[in-house]
């Protein structure tokens, strides 16, 4: 057993922490919540130059050739810093599927551009039922000559407002089994017939409604095989759940540290509130939620990275951290008192993000059902 970071991972998290502490100030984080695009193109370029955008992609596509465990290390720091922008959308929801199932042409076209920071990608999956299941996929893709015509409404599509390419999950055939007949399309985000509206979310991120109104796409834009899309979606959701868990683990750690610092500084009854035993016990319980979630995240990430079966571990990780991060964030609010309830303090940024992250890529009930299936129930 070896639970240590490699030297490269140590360097990665240290440099990521320093870089983000310098470039991802909370004033910028707040500005981006109101910004139309929701990210800083200059910072995006700098992240490309650091090799972050290409981190998991093979070197032949100008990527860093690193593993998903390394990606998790980086995402943790992004979560700690509340980094706004389309990193998860582009690299995890867009880039990894192209790397895994794209044709050579698609890979050569897209991956180097991702690495250089030239394109933003996302995945359009959920619809009006707001669930991550196959039966909810009603958007249709109908063959017409050399094209498919896509029609339907997607919801909660992250960063679609700025996406150059959208992977759209659509139904190409009706079947009694809702998991059959689903196909993924890699679509130009500026195609005629696509209209995007940014929704106003609790975390101030850019989740969108995307309407596909008879959008014509060439048959060559199919990603993977026609009709085999649902297995791919399940895999993408696993990656996304793990990536979100990593961001949450970073936020969780930061909230704990902020709270410890506050408890040392805040004086009541002539002494720091941290010296009261009840506050110490709250913080001890928070540390348990933080540390247990992190090692559970690493177990899942390690299995995924090794190519071992890991559906259970990923659902254990996301299913646990959903609740753990919420507990930590709410307890932190209680310990911070009124200041934590204001926009003047950074805690509220994390409190809102914890709740948003909880429902993205599977809430606890969603992941418990996967674990139940793994138990053979």
């Amino acid at each position: 057993m070896d639970l240590a970071f490699t030297e490269e991972q140590e360097m990665l998290w240290k440099s990521a922490r320093d870089f983000l502490a310098d470039k991802c100030l909370k004033t910028m984080v707040r500005e981006m919540e109101k910004d139309e695009k929701g990210y800083s193109p200059e910072l995006w370029k700098e992240m490309a130059d650091l090799g972050w955008l290409g981190l998991p992609f093979p070197e032949k596509y100008e990527g860093g050739g690193m593993g998903l465990l390394d990606l998790v290390v980086l995402l943790e720091e992004m979560g700690r810093a509340c980094l706004p922008g389309p990193f998860l959308s582009t690299v995890v929801l867009g880039g990894l599927p192209v790397m895994e199932w794209g044709s050579e042409e698609q890979k050569q076209d897209i991956l180097p551009k991702i690495c250089k920071g030239d394109v933003i990608l996302t995945l359009a999956q959920a619809e009006s039922s707001a669930r991550y299941d196959a039966v909810s996929i009603q958007t249709s893709a109908t063959p017409e000559g050399d094209d498919y015509v896509i029609s339907g409404t997607k919801l909660f599509v992250p960063d679609a407002n700025i996406a150059d390419s959208i992977i759209c999950v659509a139904r190409t055939a009706q079947s009694s089994n809702p998991e059959k007949g689903i196909t993924l399309f890699l679509i130009d985000g500026k195609s005629p017939g696509i209209s995007t509206t940014v929704l106003s979310t609790i975390a101030g991120d850019k989740q969108c409604e995307v309407i596909f109104d008879k959008v014509k796409v060439p048959k060559g834009s199919v990603l993977g095989e026609v009709g085999q899309g649902w297995e791919m979606v399940k895999r993408i959701l696993e990656w996304a759940a793990l990536a979100k868990s990593a961001e949450m683990a970073g936020g969780n750690q930061q909230v704990l540290e902020m709270t410890i610092n506050y408890a040392k500084e805040r004086i009541q009854f002539g002494r720091p509130i941290g010296s009261f035993q009840i506050i110490q016990h709250y913080i001890a319980d928070m540390s348990l939620d933080v540390d247990s979630a992190r090692v559970t995240l690493y177990k899942a990430a390690w299995k995924l990275n090794e190519g071992l079966p890991c559906a259970n571990e990923i659902s254990v990780s996301k299913g646990w951290i959903n609740d753990a991060y919420r507990r930590v964030a709410t307890q932190a609010c209680q310990i911070h008192g009124a200041i934590g309830f204001t926009k003047d303090h950074d805690l509220e940024l994390y409190f809102r993000r914890a709740k948003a992250a909880e429902v993205l890529f599977g809430d606890s009930d969603f992941h418990r059902e996967i674990v139940a299936q793994e138990l053979g129930l």
């Binding site: 057993m1 070896d2 639970l3 240590a4 970071f5 490699t6 465990l69 410890i260 408890a263 040392k264 002494r271 720091p272 941290g274 010296s275 009261f276 035993q277 506050i279 110490q280 016990h281 913080i283 001890a284 319980d285 540390s287 348990l288 540390d291 247990s292 979630a293 090692v295 559970t296 690493y298 177990k299 990430a301 390690w302 299995k303 259970n312 571990e313 659902s315 254990v316 299913g319 646990w320 606890s364 009930d365 992941h367 418990r368 059902e369 996967i370 674990v371 139940a372 793994e374 138990l375 053979g376 129930l377």
Partner: protein
């Protein structure tokens, strides 16, 4: 990063699993549902007999004190030690005596003579140990203990009382913490540790019946009990060092609780698959699926925390804090599981192992009662939280 056992550990785990199968074939009754680790359930005669046989077999295998130096029968392997414990505990096999942990103390603090005298009988699986710490007025505040040990010419003279001594009725030795200097400026400086024969003249045992119905622990009265000087463990008045060491090696107690809970959980899952209500298995009920899955997640998270502790131990890192986290966590998960089992079993949950119509051997009824101890024994959850908060530098409570 790699969460796997290495090849040698994997091979050892397989060997242990074969051994467990052997026990099921040779010693354990056919419908054996497993018992909790520790001396409590040995208060039942049938379990006491099984425990003695297992303890002997472990000795014959050379598997007691696997972490000890080779000259005392060990293999200097911490990982083998926890792999063995994990498998025995998960399968609910009685017999792994706390003598093995007390041997760790003797190795650390004993004289060469004491090591030669006390360790070989432990490693052969011949002797059993108990621990005497608590007193009627001394629980978490253990350094205020009052059992008096006066130094005489060739012995110490004991007078006073201990309580909650688990299994001492059935042991050969008890490691007892006593006050040797009542005038020490700081009370933790006047404590010493002794290895005492519970059958010594002047020792009176009065069993106390636990909430489970088992006569598992005792009040122990010491009236002019003479303890030979050579039974003093460590330096006189430096018992605090021994106790701190004992607490630090108790870091694994959370995992003990958790691996024990895994067995109950697996039995409950099977029960839900096999039991139909209103024409469908309980396992298909969405509420039950959700609650079982929540439990599975919590158990898995605890195992991951355990992996971290085992790895840190192998790296020579201090594990007091994660050990305390795991202790709080393991007892909380096990208590929650015991309640879940009782709720799923419903009216059947009330029945014990002797009752007609009982389900799952009455084990959940037992667990619901016995698990109250797990957030108390080996350091209460509140004391554990104090220890975890310490290094954050939050300031001292009043």
């Amino acid at each position: 990063m790699d969460f796997r056992l290495n090849e040698e550990e994997q091979a050892f785990q397989n060997e242990v699993r074969d051994f467990v199968q052997e026990l099921f074939r040779d010693i354990l009754p056919p419908d054996f549902a497993g018992v909790d680790p520790g001396p409590e359930e040995e208060a039942r005669e049938d379990i006491e007999k099984i425990a003695a046989q297992v303890w002997h077999r472990l000795g014959a295998k050379g598997w007691i004190g696997l972490g000890w130096p080779k000259e005392f029968g060990g293999q200097e392997s911490e990982s083998k030690s926890w792999i063995l414990n994990q498998e025995l505990i998960y399968n609910g096999i009685p017999g792994m005596d706390i003598a093995a942990c007390q041997g760790d103390l003797i190795l650390q603090f004993g004289t060469e003579e004491q090591k030669k005298r006390f360790l070989p009988p432990i490693s052969r699986g011949e002797v059993k140990y108990a621990i005497g710490m608590s007193e009627p007025d001394v629980g978490s505040d253990m350094f205020s203990l009052q059992l008096k040990a006066e130094e005489k010419e060739d012995h110490y003279l004991f007078n006073g009382q201990k309580i909650w001594n688990s299994g001492i009725q059935r042991t050969d030795w008890c490691v007892v913490y006593a006050r040797t200097d009542p005038n020490a400026a700081k009370q933790h400086n006047g404590i010493s540790v002794f290895i005492i024969d519970p059958k010594s003249p002047g020792v009176t045992l009065r069993p106390i019946t636990q909430i489970t119905g088992l006569d598992a622990f005792c009040e122990v009265f010491y009236d002019d009990v003479k303890v030979p000087k050579e039974n003093l463990l460590g330096e006189k008045n430096r018992g605090k060092d021994v106790s701190m060491y004992a607490f630090s090696i108790e870091r694994s107690y959370g995992m003990v609780i958790l691996h024990n809970a895994r067995r109950y959980f697996d039995q409950l899952v099977e029960y839900c698959k096999e039991t139909s209500v209103n024409g469908q298995p309980l396992a298909k009920d969405p509420l039950i699926r959700n609650r079982l899955a929540e439990m599975a997640i919590e158990i898995e998270v605890g195992r991951n925390m355990g992996d971290r502790i085992n790895w840190m131990t192998g790296q020579g890192m201090l594990t007091v804090i994660p050990g305390c986290q795991n202790k709080i966590y393991g007892s909380r998960v096990a208590q929650k599981l015991s309640n879940l089992g009782m709720e799923i079993l419903g009216l059947y949950g009330q029945l014990d192992d002797t009752s007609k119509c009982t389900q799952l051997g009455g084990r959940f009824r037992h667990m619901y009662l016995s698990s109250r101890a797990w957030s108390l024994a080996g350091g209460t959850s509140e004391m554990s939280r104090n220890i975890i908060a310490g290094p954050f530098g939050l300031g001292l409570p009043n």
